[in-house]
Symmetry: C2
Subunit: 303 residues, 2 copies
């Protein structure tokens, strides 16, 4: 499709926190659309957006003006908004989202009026800091942006979404929604819960020893970093991916108990084998894409 | 103590991997000692050190020339070396180490001849990349360097060690060896094992879905980063801190199972409470030392 597909068009972005705000800024800065319209129920956030040159309103009815509507709130708010937006959107509008789980959203999209085009999306990027004031026009640069088309999604809509993703510097990757949620349970939701667990345990133990956090260096900080994520956003993610997340947590608990038993018994051969394998795998994924033969050490410190 | 304490003296560093090599480079660059002598059983490593202007030998007997000897090998090699070094060192020499667990090392130090001064140490810094070629004269800058004095450690030796630590840019912190090991089980050994567990689970699941690592972004990479640590070094750490590490692992496994159960049952109030508490704690420790009122967001991305 030509890049002119967006010329003269209006995009409405509902929810301009970190993700929606970054999308609005990225599109505005690159001049992709004729109009970028931010819709956020928070009047202060709308004022912040206007201060950055983005047209903003708290009136959801404004989605009726848009050729493409992107829902960028926490996942369960997207689920609530979809029927309302579906009723307001004009015929042939495209309804997208950037929610972090996809199965329930794609299911809700399938219920929208047939005159709308729908496609799910999930950009694999973010920050711990939430809100429009953390938004960044370059947030999506060089990141993977998953697209989850439905059976009813037209080839034209898919191409349109791919083109939109590319215009903000991201790489589109088409993945089935169920498959997305199964994978993300391991690559995103589990890491978050491991980080939160580490933080909870450290916090409990810090009550017994006030020196504990003084002896926490960069290794602790990196492993616990995701624990700072917004709990409302994360709770929506966990509640819409329960079976996959629960399974990943239980697999981790079993693995930790096996490790504990092996360490207790001094089963060094078995320990060395699994720790070496984990180290090899981790070094493999630290290579930038396209470099497969030369090891690329990461310069960051740990202890 | 005056900084002149090191003038005219010789320091011998046994094992010049990342830690020992960085110490040698830091001391050489700052001109703290008259002589910096590296001792490493690997002839190639000695050649690498000489190429950086460090006198190097594979002969352990050379410790007899030193006023202060720092053991910088993996922990269990330190335990093997201590009696040998104790027999070779000259009277009144100071024997230190930079091993990552301290109880067993301090115990072994207590067995050395009475004419030697002994003190344990652990700089809370590092990299995933091991070896002298990764060594960095600034590795210790602004990091905490734990010192674990023994009952027999003289005030002069403690002051000498504190001064040495300060000369390489680190902050000395005196901690009892048992207490050090208990804390580090939570702040270092557990994060490593959580990272390794995440990597093992992801690796297993990647065999069922070859797209898995394509959907692993910076959140996964940060949480799994420590898994790339050297398994030999880590195995020595785990084997010399078994009870503390085992306890921390089992506490984590229990916590993960509780989380799984709460997610499965949709116990949102309880989940929100513990995830919010973890987020608050994590944000608290991300503040630089001395900034306690103003939140300092971390700029790194995640998803």
């Amino acid at each position: 499709m030509t890049e002119d597909a967006f010329q003269g068009q209006t995009i409405a972005i509902v929810g301009i926190g970190l993700m929606g705000g970054s999308l609005a800024l990225a599109l505005k800065e690159r001049g992709v659309f004729q109009n970028v319209l931010a819709i956020d129920r928070n009047a202060e956030t709308c004022a912040d957006a206007r201060a950055r040159g983005i047209e903003a309103t708290s009136d959801l009815n404004a989605v009726a003006r848009a050729d493409v509507i992107v829902l960028a709130t926490p996942v369960r708010t997207i689920l609530e908004l979809l029927p309302r937006v579906g009723a307001l959107a004009r015929a042939d509008a495209i309804v997208m989202d950037v929610g972090s789980t996809k199965r329930d959203i794609v299911q809700a999209m399938s219920q929208l009026p047939a005159h709308l085009q729908v496609i799910g999306g999930h950009p694999l990027c973010g920050k711990e800091t939430a809100g429009f004031l953390s938004a960044d026009a370059n947030l999506f640069a060089n990141t993977v942006f998953v697209l989850t088309p439905l059976a009813r999604t037209s080839p034209q809509t898919l191409a349109y979404a791919q083109s939109l993703v590319q215009r903000i510097g991201a790489r589109p990757l088409i993945v089935d929604a169920e498959r997305h949620d199964w994978i993300l349970a391991t690559t995103s939701h589990l890491p978050y819960l491991l980080a939160a667990t580490l933080m909870m345990i450290a916090d409990e133990r810090a009550r017994d020893d006030d020196l504990l956090f003084a002896l926490a260096a960069s290794g602790f900080r990196d492993t616990s970093r995701l624990a700072a994520s917004n709990p409302t956003m994360m709770l929506d993610i966990l509640m819409t991916n329960r079976a996959n997340v629960t399974e990943a947590l239980r697999a981790s608990a079993r693995k930790l108990k096996v490790l504990a038993s092996r360490i207790e018994k001094g089963e060094e051969l078995e320990l060395r084998e699994c720790l070496q394998s984990a180290a090899n795998q981790r070094q493999r994924i630290s290579r930038p894409v396209g470099q497969v033969t030369q090891r690329t050490p990461e310069p960051k410190s740990h202890y």
